[in-house]
């Protein structure tokens, strides 16, 4: 069920009434669990056991880790949890990719099997998100950051928590589980913020859908004029931001409405001053997960820093999907991070906060991020090269007025996307325009309804 559909509105209303008026404390947890399983089962009921199985496995392994006195044994148990989680992810998400890659390699080596072998598997919605969430629980218990739960209810509910189940943000067990211990009402200010986030999320999703046309045109077959290529690629930068930020805003808003706080996932990413800064602002839940559980696990800054960085970004790229372009996108960002760290170490004065260097940093970073989006969106590496060539070739013909207009509309959408996100900041609430809050929510919500394109799927659902 998508958040921007009537079906979800009906589900949420029914859920809210039951959750708030019938259940109490532990009952609310049961209510959350059943609500979440119905939400997930509405997409495809066959994958509910997989979700429950993943959470239960981690629940029991975490308990075993906690009860186990021997460090080596604890490590073995953790390895079982990680292998099981990554194994499920690998089977559903990467099996066909691995087979196709093996076929390609065999072809290069001169062996030509009769046909590309494929497995007839469906990618379960949100598998990349909930396996990471579930894994973080056992890792945190292994690290002794908090105690394993005695009852599976809390862990099951945390992993299947419907606001973030299918497209994130990735919420660690350590964020939700303490809130489950005693469900306390959040202050009215939080609920108010929840309404605002749902409304802005809906509007951002509408803007993202509007940008689909120039994106599809630029990433279709054939060569394109320079301005069309730029329009399409910038439109994708806007589309992916508005789509994903819109989804996570709605997720955070819905969680606030039912009394749970989830940390933000974006912080005006296209205003980043460097690629390092970008990853502190973009998909924060994933980048911090990768930093804490992978990068630090590999040795972090202590040894082989740049190798760790490259590996983390490569795997981060692969997390997004089973395609070589995603791997290349991860490698590209890994290289940018390494380059910025090297430059920062050798020439620290480059990091000066002078307004000119900040502005220049923003422009250079935005350009590099946009180039990265070509890799992310293109179907193949050769298409990436074609589009990059189209973007940087001299324009052969005069630019039509419609082309300029399309480019300006896309730039305006990018600015608007960030302006809407800036509106959500608590500082806005303290301005003299505070009285406009509810009218603004209604207008944003109405605009979101008008722009909604009948439940067009969120881009991050496919990851």
């Amino acid at each position: 069920v998508l958040f921007n559909t009537t079906l979800f509105a009906g589900f949420f209303l029914a859920f809210f009434v039951v959750y708030e008026f019938v259940a109490r404390s532990r009952g609310r947890l049961w209510c959350l669990l059943f609500g979440s399983l119905i939400f997930y089962g509405a997409w495809d009921v066959r994958f509910v056991p997989l979700l429950v199985g993943t959470a239960l496995l981690d629940f029991y392994i975490a308990r075993a880790i906690q009860d186990e006195p021997l460090r080596a044994q604890k490590r073995r148990l953790l390895a079982i949890s990680i292998t099981a989680n990554l194994g499920v992810l690998a089977f559903f998400k990467y099996a066909n990719f691995a087979l196709a890659s093996a076929y390609g390699l065999a072809h290069v080596l001169g062996v030509t099997p009769a046909m590309v072998p494929t497995l007839d598997v469906i990618l379960p919605a949100g598998i990349s998100f909930y396996t990471f969430q579930s894994m973080s629980y056992t890792i945190d218990v292994y690290r002794g950051e908090f105690a394993a739960r005695d009852h599976p209810l809390e862990v099951l509910t945390a992993v299947s928590f419907f606001p973030h189940l299918v497209a994130g943000p990735i919420i660690r067990a350590s964020t939700l589980l303490p809130q489950f211990e005693r469900i306390k009402p959040l202050p009215w200010e939080s609920v108010r913020r929840g309404f605002l986030l749902v409304a802005t999320g809906l509007l951002l999703k509408g803007i993202a859908d509007l940008l689909a046309d120039p994106v599809n045109l630029a990433f279709s077959a054939g060569h394109h004029d320079r301005i069309d290529a730029w329009t399409g690629v910038l439109a994708f930068a806007g589309q992916i931001y508005c789509d994903f930020a819109g989804y996570t805003d709605m997720a955070i808003g819905i969680a606030l409405l039912i009394g749970f706080a989830i940390p933000p996932n974006f912080n005006l990413p296209y205003l980043a001053r460097s690629p390092i800064d970008f990853w502190r602002r973009w998909h924060i839940s994933l980048s911090s997960w990768l930093r804490d559980y992978l990068y630090i696990g590999l040795g972090g800054n202590r040894r082989h820093r740049y190798r760790n960085l490259m590996l983390t970004m490569l795997l981060g790229g692969l997390w997004h999907g089973a395609r070589w372009t995603f791997v290349a996108w991860g490698a590209y960002h890994g290289l940018l991070l390494v380059l910025w760290h090297v430059c920062g170490t050798r020439w620290p004065y480059l990091a000066t906060v002078h307004i000119v260097s900040r502005a220049l940093g923003c422009i250079v970073t935005f350009y590099l991020i946009v180039i990265g989006w070509v890799l992310f969106r293109a179907d193949t590496l050769s298409q990436t090269l074609d589009i990059l060539r189209d973007m940087h070739q001299p324009s052969g013909t005069a630019i039509a007025a419609e082309q300029w207009r399309a480019l300006l509309v896309v730039i305006a959408a990018l600015v608007l996307g960030h302006a809407i996100s800036a509106l959500q900041r608590p500082a806005f609430d303290k301005t003299p325009l505070r009285w406009m809050f509810w009218p603004a929510v209604v207008v944003l919500f109405a605009t979101g309804i008008v722009l909604a394109s009948a439940g067009r799927v969120f881009l991050y659902f496919v990851f």
Binding site: V1, A9, E20, R182, A446, A452
Partner: protein, 397 residues
Amino acid sequence: MSEDDHTHRRLAMKTLAVGLLAAAAAILCARLVLRQLVHDMRTQDRFSQLVDHLPDICAARDPVIAIGSSLTSRGFTPSVFDDRLATLGIHATTFNAGADGVTPDVMLQLTRRLRECFANANNTPRAILIEFTPHMATRAMVRSGIEGPQNAMRLWRLLDVDSFIHVARRSSQDAGHELALLFLGGESPAAAHTIIQDALFPDPPAPVERSPTDRVGQLRQTPEYIATLARFQAMEEGTPHSWDLARRGEIESPAQTPREEEIWREVRRTDTARLQQRRGRLVKYFDLIDLDFEPALIDDLIATIREAQAITPHTYVVIYPRNPGWSMPSPTGTRNLLAVLARIEHETGAPTLNLVASTDFTPDDFADAVHVEDAWTSGKLSGIVARWVGAAQTAIH
């Protein structure tokens, strides 16, 4: 009850009340905006006007109704069909009930409404022709959602409780959309989205411009072509889909003289760049060649035929010809199509006229990759269908 529970309840009541109020206000605002944006699109829709005229159709003497998509609306001429039937001694008043982008789920609801309408009028049609447009029933078409907004609005117009249950059983997403339309007064946000998107990002000009020195380029400079084009654009911008009961849905050619007609045809037919562009779109979004069918839509097609058979036993299924130069199905597509036809035959027993591989048609009979332009061929297609229906009716009598 603890203090926390009290606080929880109070907060929940407040949240619910404020949420419902905000949602109601937002829906009201959205309805006003959508009415401005989408209302014309809905009311000018040929299908919508057809629904308005159903009582007149059901009251007509010996009516024949041809239900289908744009292939029917552009390829089937009622007056030619009536004349050919008359030569076989069968008198009928035929109505072209085809409209752009109609899919089997919409056809099913229309046929249900027809059944009710004929029962109220205490009349029985002489025949019902159900057009099966293969590429309007593919998975690719469903995935692309191109025809979704318009058809959702059409469905909403025809929906009653039984139909809603049918839609909900097939797709909860579609049912949700219909519910949204209920709140929004029948104006689809998806249609508004399309209108806004088209306004923001208009289609780029055709990639290949004709040289003014080649034949088509020269013909485009003629005053006759310029005048015809102006009339065509006026037709399109005016009320292109108007349902005119007197004409019973016949398509008018903008050309007014034989010379204009000749130039018009030549320019339109030989515009290869446009044909390629259109074919590419049909292959990508409609799976025009391989025809991987969506089972739910095939079920709806079969239900449509059964529903029509409940109105009259003289129900026929027609599959219109494909442009031999541009849209012939692949071996896979042919296999898939034949499998569906066998299922239709098995489950309904309705006579089927399959013109897909008909040798009676050449690429010149088509206005584009898929549409036979009956006005250009002196009603060739309508004549063939009339002869076949006439033979079937004579055989029965």
